[in-house]
Point group: C2
Chain length 193, copies 2
DNA sequence: CGATTCTTTGAAAACAGTCAATCTGTGTGG
DNA sequence: CCACACAGATTGACTGTTTTCAAAGAATCG
Protein backbone atom coordinates (compact mmCIF):
# COMPACT_ATOMS: atom_id res chain seq x y z
CA UNK A 1 0.00 0.00 0.00
CA UNK A 2 2.93 2.38 0.54
CA UNK A 3 4.08 1.88 -3.03
CA UNK A 4 2.01 4.63 -4.66
CA UNK A 5 3.17 7.29 -2.20
CA UNK A 6 6.78 6.18 -2.55
CA UNK A 7 6.47 6.33 -6.31
CA UNK A 8 4.85 9.74 -6.13
CA UNK A 9 7.61 11.16 -3.93
CA UNK A 10 10.38 9.63 -6.00
CA UNK A 11 8.93 11.23 -9.13
CA UNK A 12 9.40 14.63 -7.50
CA UNK A 13 12.56 14.34 -5.43
CA UNK A 14 15.20 11.87 -4.28
CA UNK A 15 15.13 10.30 -0.84
CA UNK A 16 17.14 7.49 0.74
CA UNK A 17 15.60 4.12 1.55
CA UNK A 18 15.93 5.05 5.21
CA UNK A 19 13.82 8.15 4.57
CA UNK A 20 11.14 6.10 2.89
CA UNK A 21 11.17 3.66 5.79
CA UNK A 22 10.69 6.55 8.21
CA UNK A 23 7.74 7.81 6.23
CA UNK A 24 6.17 4.40 5.82
CA UNK A 25 6.37 3.86 9.58
CA UNK A 26 3.86 6.64 10.26
CA UNK A 27 1.44 6.01 7.40
CA UNK A 28 -2.15 5.20 8.24
CA UNK A 29 -4.07 3.41 5.49
CA UNK A 30 -7.72 3.99 5.00
CA UNK A 31 -10.42 2.94 2.56
CA UNK A 32 -13.56 4.92 1.95
CA UNK A 33 -16.62 3.76 0.15
CA UNK A 34 -18.41 6.10 -2.20
CA UNK A 35 -20.35 8.75 -0.21
CA UNK A 36 -18.37 8.05 2.96
CA UNK A 37 -17.03 11.02 4.93
CA UNK A 38 -13.34 11.62 5.50
CA UNK A 39 -14.05 14.83 7.41
CA UNK A 40 -17.34 16.16 8.67
CA UNK A 41 -18.22 19.68 9.72
CA UNK A 42 -17.34 20.11 13.39
CA UNK A 43 -14.46 17.62 13.36
CA UNK A 44 -10.92 18.84 13.90
CA UNK A 45 -8.67 17.88 11.01
CA UNK A 46 -5.23 16.61 12.04
CA UNK A 47 -3.69 14.94 9.01
CA UNK A 48 -1.97 15.23 5.73
CA UNK A 49 -3.81 13.04 3.31
CA UNK A 50 -2.41 11.45 0.15
CA UNK A 51 -4.85 9.81 -2.24
CA UNK A 52 -3.74 6.44 -3.57
CA UNK A 53 -6.84 5.79 -5.62
CA UNK A 54 -10.21 7.38 -6.03
CA UNK A 55 -11.79 10.81 -5.90
CA UNK A 56 -12.90 13.17 -3.13
CA UNK A 57 -14.63 16.49 -2.78
CA UNK A 58 -13.98 19.28 -0.30
CA UNK A 59 -17.08 21.39 0.32
CA UNK A 60 -19.16 23.29 2.81
CA UNK A 61 -22.85 23.66 3.40
CA UNK A 62 -24.58 27.01 3.62
CA UNK A 63 -27.64 27.79 5.72
CA UNK A 64 -30.04 26.47 3.10
CA UNK A 65 -28.16 23.19 2.90
CA UNK A 66 -26.60 24.02 -0.47
CA UNK A 67 -23.25 22.34 -1.09
CA UNK A 68 -20.40 24.54 -2.30
CA UNK A 69 -17.54 22.49 -3.64
CA UNK A 70 -14.20 24.21 -3.07
CA UNK A 71 -12.00 21.53 -4.58
CA UNK A 72 -11.71 18.00 -5.89
CA UNK A 73 -8.81 15.68 -5.14
CA UNK A 74 -7.88 12.50 -6.97
CA UNK A 75 -5.13 9.86 -6.99
CA UNK A 76 -1.63 11.34 -6.60
CA UNK A 77 -3.20 14.38 -5.01
CA UNK A 78 -3.62 15.69 -1.48
CA UNK A 79 -6.59 16.85 0.50
CA UNK A 80 -7.43 18.11 3.97
CA UNK A 81 -8.63 21.20 5.78
CA UNK A 82 -5.60 23.43 6.20
CA UNK A 83 -7.55 26.00 8.21
CA UNK A 84 -8.57 23.48 10.85
CA UNK A 85 -5.11 21.94 10.76
CA UNK A 86 -3.49 25.32 11.37
CA UNK A 87 -5.76 26.61 14.10
CA UNK A 88 -6.95 23.41 15.75
CA UNK A 89 -10.50 24.73 15.45
CA UNK A 90 -13.38 22.49 14.34
CA UNK A 91 -13.72 22.41 10.57
CA UNK A 92 -16.51 24.23 8.77
CA UNK A 93 -16.07 21.94 5.80
CA UNK A 94 -16.74 18.40 4.70
CA UNK A 95 -14.72 15.94 2.70
CA UNK A 96 -16.29 12.83 1.27
CA UNK A 97 -15.62 10.23 -1.38
CA UNK A 98 -17.14 10.58 -4.84
CA UNK A 99 -15.74 7.17 -5.77
CA UNK A 100 -14.46 4.29 -3.65
CA UNK A 101 -11.16 5.65 -2.41
CA UNK A 102 -7.92 4.50 -0.80
CA UNK A 103 -5.75 6.94 1.03
CA UNK A 104 -2.80 7.41 3.31
CA UNK A 105 -3.03 9.62 6.37
CA UNK A 106 -0.07 11.03 8.28
CA UNK A 107 -0.80 13.00 11.41
CA UNK A 108 0.34 16.59 11.51
CA UNK A 109 2.74 15.88 14.34
CA UNK A 110 4.38 12.96 12.59
CA UNK A 111 4.49 14.91 9.37
CA UNK A 112 6.17 17.90 10.98
CA UNK A 113 8.84 15.63 12.43
CA UNK A 114 9.41 14.04 9.03
CA UNK A 115 9.77 17.44 7.41
CA UNK A 116 12.35 18.47 9.96
CA UNK A 117 14.29 15.23 9.54
CA UNK A 118 14.06 15.16 5.74
CA UNK A 119 14.70 18.59 4.20
CA UNK A 120 13.92 17.35 0.70
CA UNK A 121 10.46 16.35 1.90
CA UNK A 122 9.98 19.78 3.41
CA UNK A 123 10.90 21.35 0.07
CA UNK A 124 8.49 19.04 -1.72
CA UNK A 125 5.65 20.01 0.57
CA UNK A 126 6.35 23.69 0.02
CA UNK A 127 6.40 23.19 -3.72
CA UNK A 128 3.02 21.48 -3.54
CA UNK A 129 1.59 24.25 -1.40
CA UNK A 130 3.00 26.85 -3.77
CA UNK A 131 1.36 25.14 -6.73
CA UNK A 132 -1.92 24.81 -4.88
CA UNK A 133 -1.89 28.52 -4.23
CA UNK A 134 -1.24 29.33 -7.87
CA UNK A 135 -4.06 27.01 -8.90
CA UNK A 136 -6.44 28.63 -6.48
CA UNK A 137 -5.59 32.08 -7.86
CA UNK A 138 -6.54 30.92 -11.30
CA UNK A 139 -9.77 29.54 -9.85
CA UNK A 140 -10.55 32.91 -8.29
CA UNK A 141 -9.99 34.54 -11.64
CA UNK A 142 -12.42 32.16 -13.34
CA UNK A 143 -15.00 32.63 -10.61
CA UNK A 144 -15.06 36.43 -10.76
CA UNK A 145 -14.43 37.00 -14.45
CA UNK A 146 -16.21 34.26 -16.42
CA UNK A 147 -19.77 33.60 -17.52
CA UNK A 148 -21.33 30.20 -16.86
CA UNK A 149 -20.30 28.96 -20.29
CA UNK A 150 -16.74 30.23 -19.98
CA UNK A 151 -16.42 28.59 -16.57
CA UNK A 152 -17.50 25.27 -17.99
CA UNK A 153 -15.21 25.44 -21.02
CA UNK A 154 -12.31 26.48 -18.80
CA UNK A 155 -13.05 23.54 -16.51
CA UNK A 156 -13.16 20.84 -19.19
CA UNK A 157 -10.02 22.28 -20.72
CA UNK A 158 -8.09 22.30 -17.44
CA UNK A 159 -9.55 19.10 -15.98
CA UNK A 160 -10.85 16.87 -18.76
CA UNK A 161 -10.46 13.83 -16.51
CA UNK A 162 -12.62 15.30 -13.75
CA UNK A 163 -15.18 16.38 -16.33
CA UNK A 164 -15.61 12.68 -17.12
CA UNK A 165 -15.64 11.34 -13.56
CA UNK A 166 -17.56 13.93 -11.57
CA UNK A 167 -21.38 14.02 -11.69
CA UNK A 168 -22.65 17.15 -13.41
CA UNK A 169 -24.43 18.49 -10.38
CA UNK A 170 -21.11 18.54 -8.55
CA UNK A 171 -19.32 20.23 -11.42
CA UNK A 172 -22.05 22.88 -11.32
CA UNK A 173 -21.50 23.36 -7.60
CA UNK A 174 -17.75 23.65 -8.16
CA UNK A 175 -18.31 26.30 -10.83
CA UNK A 176 -20.81 28.23 -8.76
CA UNK A 177 -23.76 27.72 -11.10
CA UNK A 178 -26.94 25.61 -10.86
CA UNK A 179 -27.16 22.11 -12.38
CA UNK A 180 -29.90 23.38 -14.69
CA UNK A 181 -27.68 26.15 -16.04
CA UNK A 182 -24.84 23.71 -16.56
CA UNK A 183 -27.11 21.37 -18.46
CA UNK A 184 -28.19 24.20 -20.76
CA UNK A 185 -24.64 25.45 -21.22
CA UNK A 186 -23.54 21.97 -22.27
CA UNK A 187 -26.37 21.72 -24.74
CA UNK A 188 -25.47 25.08 -26.28
CA UNK A 189 -21.75 24.42 -26.55
CA UNK A 190 -22.40 20.96 -28.03
CA UNK A 191 -24.46 22.64 -30.75
CA UNK A 192 -21.46 24.81 -31.69
CA UNK A 193 -19.19 21.79 -32.41
CA UNK B 1 14.00 51.69 5.61
CA UNK B 2 14.74 48.12 6.78
CA UNK B 3 13.04 48.79 10.10
CA UNK B 4 9.48 47.85 9.09
CA UNK B 5 10.53 44.49 7.66
CA UNK B 6 12.69 43.73 10.69
CA UNK B 7 9.81 44.59 12.96
CA UNK B 8 7.44 42.47 10.93
CA UNK B 9 9.72 39.44 11.06
CA UNK B 10 10.45 39.85 14.77
CA UNK B 11 6.71 39.91 15.48
CA UNK B 12 6.43 36.44 13.93
CA UNK B 13 9.68 34.69 14.82
CA UNK B 14 13.04 35.21 16.48
CA UNK B 15 16.21 35.79 14.47
CA UNK B 16 19.72 36.82 15.47
CA UNK B 17 21.13 40.23 14.60
CA UNK B 18 23.44 38.45 12.17
CA UNK B 19 20.40 37.02 10.40
CA UNK B 20 18.81 40.44 10.11
CA UNK B 21 22.06 41.83 8.74
CA UNK B 22 22.12 39.08 6.12
CA UNK B 23 18.58 39.91 5.09
CA UNK B 24 19.15 43.64 5.04
CA UNK B 25 22.17 43.15 2.78
CA UNK B 26 20.00 41.89 -0.09
CA UNK B 27 17.04 44.25 0.28
CA UNK B 28 16.17 46.49 -2.62
CA UNK B 29 14.13 49.57 -1.71
CA UNK B 30 11.61 50.98 -4.09
CA UNK B 31 9.02 53.73 -4.10
CA UNK B 32 6.01 53.75 -6.36
CA UNK B 33 3.74 56.63 -7.05
CA UNK B 34 0.01 56.10 -7.26
CA UNK B 35 -0.89 54.34 -10.55
CA UNK B 36 2.71 53.24 -11.14
CA UNK B 37 3.34 49.62 -12.19
CA UNK B 38 5.35 47.19 -10.12
CA UNK B 39 4.78 44.40 -12.63
CA UNK B 40 3.33 44.59 -16.10
CA UNK B 41 1.91 41.81 -18.22
CA UNK B 42 4.73 40.20 -20.17
CA UNK B 43 7.41 40.90 -17.55
CA UNK B 44 9.02 38.03 -15.71
CA UNK B 45 8.60 38.37 -11.96
CA UNK B 46 11.71 37.54 -9.93
CA UNK B 47 11.18 38.88 -6.43
CA UNK B 48 9.62 38.53 -3.10
CA UNK B 49 8.03 41.83 -2.24
CA UNK B 50 7.28 43.19 1.22
CA UNK B 51 5.14 46.30 1.49
CA UNK B 52 6.42 48.89 3.92
CA UNK B 53 3.69 51.42 3.28
CA UNK B 54 0.89 51.83 0.78
CA UNK B 55 -1.51 49.69 -1.18
CA UNK B 56 -1.27 47.63 -4.36
CA UNK B 57 -3.54 45.59 -6.57
CA UNK B 58 -2.79 42.36 -8.42
CA UNK B 59 -4.98 41.95 -11.49
CA UNK B 60 -5.23 40.80 -15.06
CA UNK B 61 -6.88 42.15 -18.16
CA UNK B 62 -9.25 40.13 -20.29
CA UNK B 63 -9.70 40.48 -24.04
CA UNK B 64 -12.14 43.37 -23.67
CA UNK B 65 -9.72 45.25 -21.45
CA UNK B 66 -11.72 44.56 -18.29
CA UNK B 67 -9.61 44.49 -15.12
CA UNK B 68 -10.08 41.51 -12.82
CA UNK B 69 -8.55 42.15 -9.42
CA UNK B 70 -7.27 38.94 -7.85
CA UNK B 71 -5.91 40.47 -4.66
CA UNK B 72 -4.96 43.58 -2.77
CA UNK B 73 -1.81 43.95 -0.69
CA UNK B 74 -1.07 46.60 1.93
CA UNK B 75 1.62 47.46 4.48
CA UNK B 76 2.98 44.43 6.32
CA UNK B 77 1.80 42.26 3.45
CA UNK B 78 3.44 40.58 0.49
CA UNK B 79 2.75 40.59 -3.21
CA UNK B 80 4.14 39.18 -6.41
CA UNK B 81 3.31 36.74 -9.17
CA UNK B 82 4.08 33.28 -7.84
CA UNK B 83 3.24 31.62 -11.15
CA UNK B 84 5.81 33.66 -13.06
CA UNK B 85 8.29 33.27 -10.20
CA UNK B 86 7.91 29.49 -10.25
CA UNK B 87 8.02 28.90 -13.98
CA UNK B 88 10.13 31.81 -15.20
CA UNK B 89 7.45 32.50 -17.81
CA UNK B 90 6.28 36.06 -18.56
CA UNK B 91 3.49 37.14 -16.27
CA UNK B 92 -0.11 37.36 -17.42
CA UNK B 93 -0.86 39.76 -14.59
CA UNK B 94 -0.26 43.32 -13.52
CA UNK B 95 0.57 44.85 -10.18
CA UNK B 96 0.26 48.58 -9.62
CA UNK B 97 0.01 51.04 -6.78
CA UNK B 98 -3.39 52.28 -5.62
CA UNK B 99 -1.66 54.68 -3.23
CA UNK B 100 1.91 56.01 -3.09
CA UNK B 101 3.79 52.95 -1.90
CA UNK B 102 7.16 51.97 -0.44
CA UNK B 103 8.38 48.43 -0.69
CA UNK B 104 11.28 46.07 -0.26
CA UNK B 105 12.25 43.62 -2.97
CA UNK B 106 14.43 40.57 -2.51
CA UNK B 107 15.32 38.56 -5.58
CA UNK B 108 14.21 34.94 -5.67
CA UNK B 109 17.81 33.75 -5.72
CA UNK B 110 18.82 35.80 -2.71
CA UNK B 111 15.66 34.81 -0.92
CA UNK B 112 16.21 31.11 -1.53
CA UNK B 113 19.71 31.39 -0.10
CA UNK B 114 18.39 33.22 2.96
CA UNK B 115 15.76 30.54 3.52
CA UNK B 116 18.39 27.84 3.39
CA UNK B 117 20.68 29.71 5.78
CA UNK B 118 17.93 30.75 8.19
CA UNK B 119 15.50 27.89 8.89
CA UNK B 120 13.24 30.11 10.98
CA UNK B 121 12.79 32.37 7.98
CA UNK B 122 11.94 29.38 5.85
CA UNK B 123 9.29 28.35 8.36
CA UNK B 124 7.91 31.87 8.40
CA UNK B 125 7.59 31.92 4.64
CA UNK B 126 5.77 28.62 4.66
CA UNK B 127 3.40 29.84 7.33
CA UNK B 128 2.62 32.90 5.23
CA UNK B 129 2.05 30.78 2.15
CA UNK B 130 -0.17 28.45 4.13
CA UNK B 131 -2.26 31.36 5.37
CA UNK B 132 -2.49 32.82 1.88
CA UNK B 133 -3.82 29.53 0.63
CA UNK B 134 -6.45 29.36 3.36
CA UNK B 135 -7.48 32.93 2.59
CA UNK B 136 -7.81 32.19 -1.09
CA UNK B 137 -10.02 29.19 -0.35
CA UNK B 138 -12.36 31.41 1.56
CA UNK B 139 -12.35 33.81 -1.37
CA UNK B 140 -13.28 30.99 -3.74
CA UNK B 141 -16.15 30.11 -1.46
CA UNK B 142 -17.45 33.68 -1.50
CA UNK B 143 -17.08 33.92 -5.25
CA UNK B 144 -19.05 30.76 -6.05
CA UNK B 145 -21.61 30.82 -3.25
CA UNK B 146 -22.59 34.43 -2.58
CA UNK B 147 -24.89 36.96 -4.21
CA UNK B 148 -23.58 40.45 -4.98
CA UNK B 149 -24.88 41.76 -1.66
CA UNK B 150 -23.42 38.88 0.35
CA UNK B 151 -20.06 39.35 -1.35
CA UNK B 152 -20.01 43.00 -0.40
CA UNK B 153 -21.05 42.43 3.21
CA UNK B 154 -18.49 39.65 3.52
CA UNK B 155 -15.83 41.98 2.14
CA UNK B 156 -16.48 44.91 4.47
CA UNK B 157 -16.63 42.50 7.39
CA UNK B 158 -13.33 40.81 6.54
CA UNK B 159 -11.49 43.90 5.26
CA UNK B 160 -13.05 47.04 6.73
CA UNK B 161 -9.78 48.90 6.18
CA UNK B 162 -9.66 48.09 2.47
CA UNK B 163 -13.33 49.01 2.15
CA UNK B 164 -12.31 52.52 3.22
CA UNK B 165 -9.15 52.86 1.13
CA UNK B 166 -10.01 51.18 -2.15
CA UNK B 167 -12.11 53.00 -4.79
CA UNK B 168 -15.50 51.36 -5.23
CA UNK B 169 -14.92 50.42 -8.83
CA UNK B 170 -11.92 48.34 -7.73
CA UNK B 171 -13.87 46.68 -4.94
CA UNK B 172 -16.48 45.76 -7.53
CA UNK B 173 -13.82 44.25 -9.76
CA UNK B 174 -12.42 42.29 -6.80
CA UNK B 175 -15.88 40.94 -6.01
CA UNK B 176 -16.64 40.06 -9.62
CA UNK B 177 -19.56 42.47 -10.00
CA UNK B 178 -20.01 45.76 -11.89
CA UNK B 179 -19.51 49.16 -10.24
CA UNK B 180 -23.19 49.94 -10.88
CA UNK B 181 -24.33 46.80 -9.09
CA UNK B 182 -22.05 47.57 -6.17
CA UNK B 183 -23.44 51.08 -5.93
CA UNK B 184 -27.00 49.72 -5.81
CA UNK B 185 -26.08 47.04 -3.30
CA UNK B 186 -24.56 49.67 -1.02
CA UNK B 187 -27.66 51.82 -1.27
CA UNK B 188 -29.91 48.88 -0.38
CA UNK B 189 -27.85 47.71 2.57
CA UNK B 190 -27.57 51.27 3.89
CA UNK B 191 -31.37 51.46 3.89
CA UNK B 192 -31.54 48.36 6.09
CA UNK B 193 -29.44 49.94 8.89
C1' DC C 1 -37.12 -4.94 -13.26
C1' DG C 2 -38.39 -1.16 -9.59
C1' DA C 3 -36.58 2.53 -6.97
C1' DT C 4 -33.63 6.06 -6.54
C1' DT C 5 -30.69 9.43 -8.22
C1' DC C 6 -29.17 12.41 -11.89
C1' DT C 7 -30.14 15.16 -15.88
C1' DT C 8 -32.96 17.64 -18.96
C1' DT C 9 -36.60 20.79 -20.27
C1' DG C 10 -39.98 24.61 -19.88
C1' DA C 11 -41.88 28.88 -18.17
C1' DA C 12 -41.62 32.60 -15.05
C1' DA C 13 -39.15 35.46 -11.85
C1' DA C 14 -35.07 37.38 -9.87
C1' DC C 15 -30.73 39.07 -10.46
C1' DA C 16 -26.93 41.33 -12.45
C1' DG C 17 -25.09 43.67 -16.55
C1' DT C 18 -25.18 47.38 -20.08
C1' DC C 19 -25.52 51.90 -21.76
C1' DA C 20 -26.24 56.60 -21.20
C1' DA C 21 -27.02 60.52 -18.43
C1' DT C 22 -26.44 62.96 -14.21
C1' DC C 23 -24.35 64.07 -9.97
C1' DT C 24 -20.38 64.71 -6.74
C1' DG C 25 -16.11 65.74 -5.18
C1' DT C 26 -11.25 66.87 -6.16
C1' DG C 27 -7.56 69.00 -8.03
C1' DT C 28 -5.56 72.16 -11.48
C1' DG C 29 -4.54 75.97 -14.32
C1' DG C 30 -5.84 80.48 -15.54
C1' DC D 1 -9.59 81.98 -5.71
C1' DC D 2 -12.62 80.69 -9.02
C1' DA D 3 -13.98 78.04 -12.95
C1' DC D 4 -13.37 74.18 -15.23
C1' DA D 5 -12.14 69.57 -16.21
C1' DC D 6 -11.91 65.04 -14.78
C1' DA D 7 -12.55 60.89 -12.46
C1' DG D 8 -15.56 58.35 -9.57
C1' DA D 9 -20.14 57.27 -8.07
C1' DT D 10 -25.04 57.18 -8.73
C1' DT D 11 -29.40 56.63 -11.11
C1' DG D 12 -32.75 55.07 -14.62
C1' DA D 13 -34.42 52.22 -18.25
C1' DC D 14 -33.57 48.28 -20.61
C1' DT D 15 -31.50 43.79 -21.85
C1' DG D 16 -29.71 39.49 -21.03
C1' DT D 17 -28.27 35.83 -18.11
C1' DT D 18 -29.00 32.84 -14.42
C1' DT D 19 -32.03 30.98 -10.93
C1' DT D 20 -36.14 28.93 -9.37
C1' DC D 21 -39.73 25.69 -9.35
C1' DA D 22 -41.99 21.93 -11.29
C1' DA D 23 -42.23 18.09 -14.17
C1' DA D 24 -40.63 14.67 -17.29
C1' DG D 25 -36.89 11.81 -19.06
C1' DA D 26 -32.47 9.03 -18.62
C1' DA D 27 -29.37 6.40 -16.20
C1' DT D 28 -27.80 3.53 -12.40
C1' DC D 29 -27.88 0.22 -8.75
C1' DG D 30 -29.50 -3.25 -5.87
Amino acid sequence: MFGPLKQYISSKTTLTEADYARIEAVCIYKKLRKRQYLLQEGDVWKYNCFIVKGLLRFYNLDDNGKENIISFAREDGWTGDRASLLTGEPSKNNIDAIEDTELILITKNNFDVLCREIPALNDLVNAILNKSFITSQSRIHAAIAFTAEQKYLDFIQKSPDLAMRVPQAMIASYLGITPETLSRVRKESAKKH
